[in-house]
Each structure stands twice: as C-alpha cells, then as structure tokens.
C-alpha cells in the first residue's frame, strides 16, 4: 500500500475528487480562509475526499491553503470540496479580514505591535 502522504498529487483527474463538480458553490473562499469543522456533523454519506478533508480539519483550525497542502490536493479542488462542506454545515469558513475592514486602525495597530514584539 502506498504510504499516506507519499501519494503523488495529480495522479487522478481533478474532477474525480470533486465528484464532477467544476466550480465551488461559493466564490469567497480564499487560500487564507480559516476552516472550522463541526464535530457533531456525521461523516457518513460524504465521499472519500470530503471525509478525509473533514477528518483533517476536526482536530483544529487550519487555513484552506494548509488543508490543500496537507492533503496534497490542488487548491481549486480543495475549494470545491470545502465549498460543499460549508453548504452542508460540516465546515464553518472564516474569510480573511476583508479589504473593507482593513481600515480598522485598531486591528492594524495590533498586527504592527505583534510583529514588532515578535
């Protein structure tokens, strides 16, 4: 058996893990979107890739980029899977602080101070 983590990315067609879905159902998902799994949601009924994604997210919060890299799935494929899991409430997504809120002076000051004190 191929050891997990040694699986080569790109060995299957992208539409295989997505179940033929070509585009995510929501447009806002970003690589820096944080994903929080709902531990109370049953995993049965999910396809293998979605189940694997959920199992990876259940222990703690990760960004979509990390999930994509950890599971060795292309970002576009990860977005499709995550999108459906958000629709079914298996995952809660928190998008990066949007541009409109970035004139929040207090937030920026906290970021700057944290960087300085690092």
């Amino acid at each position: 058996m191929t050891p997990r983590g040694r699986r080569r990315a790109g060995m299957v067609r992208p539409y295989t893990p997505t179940g033929g879905r070509a585009a995510p159902t929501r447009r806002t998902l970003d690589l820096a979107t944080l994903l929080i799994a709902d531990p109370d949601k049953p995993l049965h009924g999910l396809d293998a890739h979605s189940r694997r994604l959920m199992q990876h997210c259940l222990p703690g919060v990760l960004s979509l980029a990390e999930v994509s890299a950890d599971l060795q799935l292309p970002a576009a494929v990860t977005k499709v899977l995550v999108s459906s899991l958000v629709d079914s409430s298996h995952l809660v997504s928190r998008d990066p602080v949007p541009a409109a809120q970035q004139h929040d002076r207090q937030l920026l000051e906290r970021i700057r101070d944290a960087l300085i004190n690092l």
């Binding site: 997990r4 690589l31 944080l34 199992q55 222990p59 980029a65 950890d70 599971l71 928190r94 970021i111």
Partner: protein, 199 residues
C-alpha cells in the same frame, strides 16, 4: 484512521481572524526564503527541480546556485495574537502564472515586492501588478552579498518609486530582518489618509 500528512500544525484555539500578505518579485529573488524565514510552520511549498523545459523560459544566467524553482504557491504562517494569524503567500515569479497572482491579491492586506539590486528592473512587473490591483505595498531590497549596494535615493530613482511607498533593506534569510518589510507595510497602511474611520 489517520488521514493527515502532517500533525500538530493546527492553529491555537481562539484564532479567528486571518490576514493575508502577498510576496512578489522576479524569479530567484528570494520569495520562498523570505516566507520561510518569517513562518512559524515549515513553509509549505511545492518546489520542484526545474525541468529542461523550464530552462528555456526561466533565465538562470548569473544565478548559478538556483536549481529549484517554485512551480506552485508557497506560503507561511505567523500567529500574531491570540486571535489573529498572518498568512504570507509567495507568488510564482514567472509571467505565465499571472492568473494565480490576481487571485492571490484579492482580499490581501498588502504586498511586499522583493528586489535584487543586481536586477532592479526585473521587479518592475511585480510593482506594476500591485499598483494595478490597487494593493498597498512596500519594496524590500534583499541584501544579497554579491549584489551592488546603492543609496536609498539611487534605489528610489531606479525603481521609479512613489515617494510614499516604503523602501526597506533586509536579509530575507533572517527572521529578525525579514519581518521588517512586514512592519513597514502595516505602518504604511496605518499612515494612509484613507484609514480615517468611515462614517
């Protein structure tokens, strides 16, 4: 069943906000090194050996030590406070990946453009991308040992830099130095007049 390929990289409970910074610059300027120096996790990248096919497109002249290149996005993570985490994404430098950069810049806090003083003009593309996207950015000169040193005014002139755009020098290999462009960027954001609270 274990389904993950890495363990223990989860964010601290309570982290609820992410911010994103995009790092751009020409081929082999040090984007991956920069992200890696600042990141708290092993920078996740898909660096692979450059193929013969890539040699035609990616100029290696004068870059004798460069035998890998980033063919996909690489990123790093830095938990800043109990609730804020910063993600840095190093964009692929080659123009054929431009479509990835556009997506990357959306929703970003700002950008860092890396400059090698031996190839100053090669950073113009990255600066142009930031300006087109209307993304605030800082220019960080990577102090490569072998590259020529210039005064700030000479660099500003050569880069045709807007007077308000910060210019910093850093050694992208050192965390303490590599974080200076990030501090400069956030200070720059704080100094913008548009920051006044919207009524």
């Amino acid at each position: 069943m274990r389904s993950s390929t890495s363990e223990g990289n989860y964010l601290a409970p309570g982290v609820s906000h992410s911010v994103k910074i995009v790092v751009l610059g020409p081929f082999a300027v040090g984007k991956t090194t920069f992200v890696g120096a600042v990141s708290e996790i092993r920078p996740t990248s898909t660096e692979e050996r450059m193929t013969k096919a890539g040699e035609i497109v990616d100029t290696l002249r004068g870059l004798s030590d460069k035998n890998t290149t980033t063919v996909a996005l690489d990123f790093g993570r830095l938990t800043l406070t109990d609730d804020i985490v910063l993600y840095m994404f190093g964009g692929p430098g080659q123009p054929r990946f431009d479509y990835m950069i556009d997506e990357l810049m959306q929703g970003a806090l700002g950008g860092v453009v890396l400059v090698d003083t031996a190839r100053i003009t090669e950073s113009w593309d990255a600066m142009g991308r930031m300006e087109e996207a209307d993304l605030p950015y800082v220019v960080a000169v990577n102090t490569f040992a072998a590259s020529p040193r210039y005064s700030e005014s000479e660099l500003r002139k050569a880069l045709d830099l807007h007077p308000s755009t910060p210019l910093v020098e850093c050694d992208v290999r050192e965390k303490s130095s590599a974080k200076s462009p990030l501090i400069a960027l956030v200070s720059h954001l704080l100094s913008r007049p548009s920051l006044e609270p919207a009524s």
